[in-house]
């Protein structure tokens, strides 16, 4: 994973390093200190803005991003932005795209975005409908893996064994049940839509490339961005990017791309690490390292990570060995 700095040292300069970047989500918003979602949103929308010369309309579902970015009299967005409800963003975006089509303005691109709650759960119906119609919308899901705005309740994206307000561990219960949870990128690919990708703010260059690739494709596209949340996951605010990197490096958050339902590429993990080094710094997994917790608790997550390494062909050495 090319983790060069964002500027022109080593890698190609990113949009985020451009002094004249659009700053689609600008300063003064009310996100928590070290908020991953705020950064993910700026990176994604800036990349889309840059690729289309600013021709984008954004539809936002209710959630943390919406609440902390647009509350009268403060609006942090510099792009056309519409918020309707929690579960209808995909449908609203379908409407916006239809309106543009009716006026023959296909060059203007439509982006719908929301958190994992809005995307995995309450908005799943509308999302599937949008994919079903292959509407010309890029849906971006900022995945912080729980309902953060209402106080860290479990969502369909909450990882196995994670602590949330509605999956509090105790003697016999180790957090979110590993048999539950959804894999939305796979569900999106099952709809056969033109493009699906996962990304992370731990690798902004990779994120930007995927957004600009997606924005140029017609039909439904889905990008899911891993955005750690210091409040919800319980780690120091300065470590948001480090935690995001560790998630990818340990294999629990595979970065890959799919087209028309088939896996076409993945961002390689050069030096895979055990899941423990990703889990241990987070309070939401602290109970897995408690005294009387059996070792195979972490083993469950390690198996998932190993499965991802293989399934998404993340690390060539391991696979070739």
């Amino acid at each position: 994973m090319s983790n060069f700095p964002l500027g022109n040292i080593g890698g190609t300069p990113t949009v985020q390093s451009d002094f004249a970047r659009p700053n689609s989500l600008t300063g003064g918003h009310r996100g928590c200190q070290g908020c991953g979602e705020a950064l993910g949103a700026r990176c994604a929308i800036d990349a889309a803005h840059q690729t289309t010369g600013g021709k984008i309309l954004v539809v936002n579902a209710t959630g943390c991003l919406e609440v902390f970015s647009c509350c009268f009299p403060e609006n942090s967005w510099s792009v056309p932005w519409l918020h309707s409800l929690f579960g209808n963003a995909p449908a609203v975006a379908t409407g916006v795209a239809a309106a543009l089509r009716s006026r023959g303005q296909d060059s203007i691109r439509v982006i719908a975005q929301g958190g994992d709650g809005a995307t995995y759960d309450i908005g799943m119906g509308c999302l599937s409908g949008m994919f079903d119609r292959n509407d010309d919308v890029l849906y971006i899901c900022y995945d912080n893996q729980a309902y953060m705005n209402t106080g860290v309740q479990r969502s369909g994206a909450t990882p196995p064994l994670a602590r949330t307000a509605t999956t509090l561990p105790n003697k016999s219960y180790l957090g979110s049940d590993p048999q539950t949870g959804k894999n939305l990128p796979e569900i999106a690919m099952a709809h056969g839509i033109p493009y699906v990708a996962t990304a992370s703010i731990g690798n902004i260059r990779d994120l930007e490339q995927k957004v600009s690739r997606a924005i140029n494709i017609r039909g439904s596209r889905y990008i899911q961005i891993h955005v750690p949340c210091p409040l919800g996951w319980g780690y120091p605010t300065a470590e948001t990017i480090r935690i995001a990197r560790l998630a990818v490096q340990c294999g629990l958050y595979p970065l890959f791309e799919g087209e028309y339902g088939k896996l076409v590429g993945s961002t390689p993990v050069e030096e895979p690490i055990p899941v423990e080094s990703y889990l241990r710094p987070q309070r939401r997994f602290a109970h897995l390292f408690g005294k009387n917790v059996s070792a195979n608790a972490v083993g469950v997550l390690q198996n998932i990570a190993n499965g991802n390494m293989e399934k998404y062909r993340l690390n060539w050495e391991i696979l070739d060995a």
Binding site: R30, G31, C32, Q33, G34, V67, F68, P230, T237
Partner: protein, 179 residues
């Protein structure tokens, strides 16, 4: 009716402080009511919580604009949240600060205490709420230190409770020493 307003930042246990204060009053067979500032407390954002203590049932449902006492858990919010506004004459102000305040309202008994320092020393985490309640008990004597200790036990358990209790007692002795 004794009205208290507590200022601080999201994630510093400001709401828990108001709740513990109301529990302490309850344990002394008094009526009490605690409520947050009804906003979305973002980590780091200035936050306010309130507590009313009375001998009669409390029916009032309005914000506290003229408190009898103020607890400021993070003095860097004093300016941005106008934390000292509306304090009644003869009121009490307890500020978490290792150095004295540069300015303070007239005829109000103001005390500064390095609650974060005490919390770091006794609890190991910079969460000053229990410590300040210890100080508050000494400053206002509206509630006793024993009730504060029992209230802490309802919010924390085991070692963390013990550490917060000893931190609160240190603050109590320190402030009563200064009285």
């Amino acid at each position: 009716m004794f009205q208290v307003r507590i200022h601080g930042r999201g994630g510093q246990g400001v709401v828990t402080a108001a709740e513990m204060l109301s529990i302490a009053a309850f344990l002394e067979k008094k009526y009490s009511q605690a409520f947050p500032s009804f906003g979305s407390e973002r980590t780091g954002a200035p936050v306010v919580a309130f507590c009313r203590i009375s001998d009669r049932e409390i029916r009032l449902r309005e914000p506290i604009l003229e408190p009898n006492a103020l607890i400021v858990q993070d003095k860097t919010v004093i300016e941005s949240s106008h934390a000292l506004d509306g304090i009644l004459e003869g009121g009490y102000v307890l500020v978490n600060s290792s150095i004295p305040l540069s300015s303070c309202p007239k005829n109000v008994s103001l005390r500064c205490i390095d609650a974060t320092g005490i919390a770091l020393e006794y609890v190991g985490r910079p969460i000053p709420n229990a410590v300040l309640l210890g100080g508050f008990a000494a400053l206002t004597s509206v509630i006793k230190i024993d009730s504060v200790i029992d209230a802490i036990k309802t919010k924390f358990s085991g070692a963390i409770a013990e550490k917060n209790i000893s931190a609160a007692q240190v603050a109590y002795e320190k402030i009563s020493g200064e009285n």
